[in-house]
Symmetry: D2
């Protein structure tokens, strides 16, 4: 058993980390913290009453380092890097669920803020296991991907080599409301969301440069990414539609099947994917349909699991020499 | 007052027609029918108990022609043309909400079935008032547009002249469940739809050729339409995302504003449109955002009103010499 | 035409008042205000863009009194009475949608706060038209009932004379989220409400003494009211279940039908009532079922209309000598 | 490992049984069947694609008996007893999720149909572990309780001895739509259910005699049960409100805590219970509030788990000598 810490226990991804790690066969939660401390897990998350009764501490890096070997940071960007820096210095492995170590320095500083841990940024590994498994196994610091980039990259990357390089890539991404976090806002009330749907920040979301950068890094192609996110009246889940134009006609379904034939957490589907079949799991379901040189690629993930916490635990599994699927759920919440 | 008949009173669009016409200042409902008859409006639609107490007859064209001057047909395709043919012969004006008179003969027969009223098909007018107002005013038979084509054409048409003609046009259209009608299906149960979303018939929906044909007819451009519809957990409403590539850079927001400056039922919005702001109205809200040569155009309509019944009444208003907005709601159901 | 003012334009009930009064045949909106002013109706409520373009002023009683003859106050309690007092002094009729004039002084001060307009409180009339029509017609100040009391009293009052006076009356009332207003709270986010349901303030809600007091006033019976409200994942609407024990067996369905035989806004139903059939209307639907000496009485209203704004306009109609139903919708939003 | 069979794999409770048993540490699924066979689990339930790839057979009792020691029957009533009878004869233990063995013969035949396995009915044990644990441990045939009775009995039974025996017991029970099963109906479409709520079969639901009979059996008190079920726009979950009148005033919160102090799957809560905190688990959460001699008792369960499949596995655990909680989830799906 390896001892693990969770920093940032109050939000949805912190809750999901706790839920996964409670039953993990090889990880043992020894430390849970948030920004205020002085509470318990079941006070923060009443559904865990009678399940786990650990205290939630005010985060203290020295304390953490005494009792854990690896830490999950489920914190806002900027806050995260200050803790990560200290933890790495104390020889604690880190899986960071924030954006702080996902991007190149210049990109990060353009879209977020000044970076205060440039040294570790150089060595961080992007935690998308289908593409960075070997690096993750040797990483001390893994930057867990954003939810939109996870669903988008897994669907898009197999096709990048076949695309007409001058054409636009259009991404119409729909997220459930848990993706917006717990912060109160007029936008996320039940009255505003139920029986409604709307785009937000079209072409301007900060997950767009994350997608761009990884496509370039992995394919050497500077793609014309046009990313539009929307909110749908769903709590948990994400459905991404990608529209691209092929340079050479390929058998898209066959390309996809071949690409993921050895990946247990990507399912290539014969019929359009839906949100419920992946909700509660680490699966990414992908479907593709062709119309002449046009492709519609659609992917579905659970934004809190494959888009955050279960992917983080897969990364931790790999970093600790365990099987990728150790303690990871494949059983959807459906119905 | 002009006397009107509604044929096809059982479905959602029939209900909406009744709701609009009850309070219409210039139309007087004199005849309501469905395929079985022998019932009343408030038996079919209990919400109208205490509001309207008319009998619903088994449809009889002769009977109808005695008491009404114009008929709304809210019927399945194929059924609709048999009645339309007889009604036109009896000199009754017809607004047909089915697909029977929307398409050219060859297109219709490719996507639907053999056409049994070719004569009237030649003279039917497509009931999209922003583009066919003059013809509608003189029509005896108006083919009311489909919901997806209404929302798509209104958003797309202003930009067609500016597009790169070789690039694909991608349409990601999301419909509420009332668009699927009342027929029972595993796909439309609450358990399957709530907290879910999925595409259906990607690139193969029958509203796709309707869009194609009208774009060609109105712009002389044979566009590369790629249409993907989805269902979202919403009862009423439709949100369409259109992704296109410009040939020449234009000021898209300005193009849109200029195009619709005289149209009272199209609202050009500065922020992304949503479903609730048009639900209950005949408005089509449109938003556009630009990213280099890429455009995201988004439109919202009430699929049962602007996408069917209120647009039908606007058409009837024009056919009868009334103002387009006579008896048409602009007040959304929100919240 | 009578000129009307709306004070409190920002909330849901303010919006509903505007939506009703825009189309009212005998009222003319001349003044709209909220606490800050300096905005417009369509800025506050974007769905009304292109429909009404009035300014929203910072509330000024003197200004209001120059341009309107009757004012609707859609304000929080306490705020409301300060304006009502001044308006009455200026000879403006008032329909107050807050709790400020609904209760006897002692009850009010026990459940809310000190009352600062005791004089007008003495003369205020409770605006439940089925029971206070004559007084409303002569009132200068009408206290519009709460949503829970409206649905509860209309269902309960016909049966009070038949009840076993020693038995408890149990009320299990479910409200849609618009009833909680626009104030942000963890309780009212989409994530917390969707796929969820829960009671709140059981036996302690401030609408409970309102029900008690009116039952006593109208029947001289001091009933044992036990009121439990819940939130359901619905935006608009309210469903109330009442459980009572009869002293003498009566034909409950007949009692109900007879009681409301002349009331156009109460529908006695033969099958269990639902939320959608009243949503968008001023109707209260009521159903009763009997099991020995036990009764289940269920009522449905639109919490924002019959439970607030349309009932307020009915009251204003009566105060101004118009028909109760003038400009009041009977057509539900369904589907 | 004990080999288990699931008969009735197509419905929601069949799916939940599969989901639980896939990961159960002591049960091994060796046989899955439905009425038609000739399919696979992942064809019936696409979310299990890549998770389990067993065939689904046309049910054959002889075949089943060769490969399994215990069978779960997730079948409609009447169908269930024909298989149970044969299985018991072949010495297979049975957990029956239908109503066939829950009631006394006369009650069953009054509310359901003629009973065709009277012999086994005599020996069946009601599978509510908190009350029948010892009998379950020795049972060959367990009748798994209905969802409404589970939530109702767990909340009501602690208080029955304290109630005024002449007063009515009122139960206002709300169920999510998965409780209505997969059969298509106008009542269960998304359009009818979303933004809606309604009672059905008030005082006449077949779970009412089940509650009656068990209260009498366990307390010797013939209670005046008045049971009204409703559907709420929720997929999974159940919230039951019980209203009763005390004979002697007791400290209700203390009574409840004391009653369940040793039961790991009942949580007595200090604040009103909600659906999400039990969804995905075998927990029953209970809350009680007092108002003079009136009590409001509220309980929440997952209708498909504690109300069906996870309770069935708890029963199987007990029948096989395992710990009650073996393989049973306590981690809710929330958010």
């Amino acid at each position: 058993m390896i001892n693990v810490a969770i920093v940032g226990a109050s939000g949805y991804t912190g809750l999901e980390l706790i839920k996964i790690l409670i039953n993990h066969p090889k990880f043992n939660i020894t430390y849970i913290a948030n920004s205020t401390g002085n509470t318990t897990v079941s006070t923060l998350h009443p559904s865990l009453d009678g399940v786990i009764d650990m205290p939630v501490e005010k985060v203290d890096v020295g304390q953490l380092a005494k009792v854990a070997d690896i830490a999950f940071l489920a914190l806002p960007h900027k806050t995260s890097m200050s803790f990560a820096k200290e933890l790495i210095a104390l020889n604690i492995k880190v899986v960071d669920l924030s954006a702080d170590y996902r991007l190149k320095l210049e990109t990060y500083e353009e879209y977020y803020c000044l970076h205060e841990d440039k040294e570790n940024l150089k060595h961080s590994v992007y935690g998308l296991p289908e593409f960075y498994e070997d690096q993750i196994k040797n990483a001390r610091l893994v930057a867990n991907p954003g939810c939109y980039p996870t669903a988008t990259l897994l669907a898009l990357l197999p096709f990048v080599p076949y695309l007409d390089s001058k054409s636009n890539i259009f991404i119409d991404a729909k997220s459930g409301l848990s993706g917006a976090g717990k912060k109160l806002s007029d936008m996320t009330t039940f009255v505003n969301v139920s029986e409604n749907m709307f785009a937000y920040n079209p072409f301007k979301h900060r997950h767009s440069p994350e997608i761009n950068e990884k496509v370039l890094e992995l394919t050497d192609i500077d793609a014309n990414i046009n990313f539009v996110p929307s909110l749908i009246p769903v709590t948990r889940g994400m459905l991404v539609s990608i529209f691209v134009t092929l340079e050479d006609i390929c058998d898209a379904k066959q390309v996809l099947k071949e690409f993921y034939k050895d990946d247990e957490f990507v399912r290539v589907k014969e019929t359009p994917v839906n949100i419920k079949d992946t909700s509660g799991t680490n699966f990414c379901d992908i479907f593709v349909e062709q119309n002449g040189n046009a492709l519609f690629i659609s992917s579905s993930i659970d934004n809190l699991l494959r888009g955050a916490s279960s992917q983080a635990v897969v990364n931790a599994n790999l970093m600790c020499g365990f099987e990728a699927n150790c303690g990871i759920s494949k059983i959807a919440y459906v119905p």
